[in-house]
Symmetry: C2
Subunit: 297 residues, 2 copies
């Protein structure tokens, strides 16, 4: 009999995936170690939600960022998009780009951080892969579910609808962009109770994300700068343009707004920041710049 050691690739895959720890098994037929992950079907009263999101060293985190926080951020960002869809995360795939064997301990640490956040949301990591890249890179793909026909998108806002944000804006640096909690509970509650006519998560700042919502919905808007909920030690301009707040921005028909404010069950702040206008009236921000963080600039 020949003794066959693991190939270097299989050895490192084992090293890294073992850092993910025990995964939830319910409804998972095959996961890591097979060509594909296979999951039992969900109720046919649930739509399926898909999202992919990546973080890259030097862009979304620094070489000096603790790797567990970089891994945590990779997952938290993607979860924030599911929050904006009102979805419950069900399974994650994880792609890691790794420069060389010297970066292996750092990647292992990133997997640990990501895995801790996944456990908090009972989210199984069902597969993934590792490729060689010049920078450390983590890409997360998520499958989620949302009650059929309920998920809002960016295009349902109408003139007269009111604009709300969760949380406080402008405080993402130096640390909160690594430690924020995605607003999954808030997003699910909002969608279950049919409040938002359109919703997105604030990844690049109001100054960039609000025009995206407006373009999709073919509306104008008016924002009241002094109503923007500010993080400590920030100014409205930074809250508008800095990005990475990962709070929810959503529009609500005016007749639903009183019930929303009355019934909001979270300690997370909820703030009315403006309203939607007919498209011909354009974008009004009280002088705040209509730009945000641009990854490709």
């Amino acid at each position: 009999m020949k003794k066959v050691p693991l190939s270097p690739e299989d050895f490192w895959i084992h090293q890294w995936t073992s850092a993910l720890g025990q995964q939830p098994k319910s409804g998972i037929r095959h996961s890591i170690g097979h060509d594909c992950a296979v999951l039992s079907p969900f109720s046919n009263q649930l739509d399926l939600v898909l999202k992919t999101d990546a973080v890259v060293e030097g862009v979304h985190f620094l070489p000096s960022t603790p790797a567990d926080l970089a891994g945590r951020k990779a997952l938290a960002r993607a979860l924030s998009d599911l929050a904006a869809a009102g979805a419950t995360p069900r399974a994650a795939l994880l792609t890691a780009g790794c420069p060389n064997a010297r970066s292996a301990p750092r990647l292992r640490q990133a997997y640990r951080g990501l895995s801790l956040l996944a456990k908090k949301f009972h989210l199984p990591i069902v597969g993934g892969e590792t490729v060689r890249t010049r920078q450390l890179l983590l890409s997360v793909s998520l499958l989620g579910t949302v009650p059929k026909n309920t998920s809002p998108n960016r295009s349902g806002a109408k003139p007269g609808h009111l604009l709300f944000v969760t949380g406080k804006l402008g405080g993402s640096w130096p640390r909160r962009h690594l430690t924020f909690t995605p607003r999954l509970a808030e997003g699910q509650w909002l969608v279950r109770n049919k409040f938002p006519s359109a919703m997105l998560d604030l990844s690049d700042g109001l100054g960039a994300d609000l025009p995206r919502l407006a373009r999709s919905s073919r509306i104008g808007f008016q924002i009241h700068p002094d109503q923007i909920p500010l993080s400590p030690r920030t100014i409205p301009k930074l809250a508008f343009t800095r990005g990475e707040d990962f709070e929810l921005l959503f529009s609500v028909p005016p007749k639903l707004a009183p019930a929303l404010l009355r019934r909001w069950p979270f300690t997370t702040p909820l703030t009315l920041i403006g309203s939607c206008l007919p498209i011909r009236q354009g974008y009004h921000t009280g002088g705040l710049p209509l730009r945000g963080y641009d990854h490709l600039r």
Copy 2:
């Protein structure tokens, strides 16, 4: 009214996604341009299949590789894994890593090549994103379906089962790794007819992938080198170790083998290359080396 141009990021996203062309819309509630893709549920007689796979410039293709072929390869590789699960691809997410604006035309070209292959399989591209990386990188995540409880994995092979491969091996370079057709029809037929006890796709070569199947199934194996179906101008050793054949390797209980050979409806070659042994009897290859292509070596 303020005129607000698209941000550089939104401009490039528009440039690239327009290269994807019209996408199939059936069953898709929201797709590109929203935070998440949302799909109608599939029949609850179908399991869900998830896969992610990435290609990186300098690793999986060269700076001189035509970008449309690099894009095509990114999708074809992931589809090959779905073939090994017997699955039908239903939706794709696409992550692109792009060094700078100068690489934008090349990325657009990659999207075109990927999109052509997606159309061939009626596969909608429902979302994705672009990040800045030092090398061109394309990562594809797929959602597929397979009839409930039928998808084979790597761990079902038993001593006595026979080992088959589709196609011919060893001819991946210089070009076939860019132009191969994933064996989706063959994989779906095999699974629908319940032939494979275990199946995977040959991405790193028999010399690496066969030990993976054997470890998962806790078996040994015997391969007959002169029965390996060779591509023109190759030798068994290269067919064993070169990788990127993207053919299917599967085990079949011996009593089903005659029906498999008789009923095989494809022009794709189907070849019996060996058999599974009890684990204590080890790995027998007639002298061929038990290693394959290793991306991390």
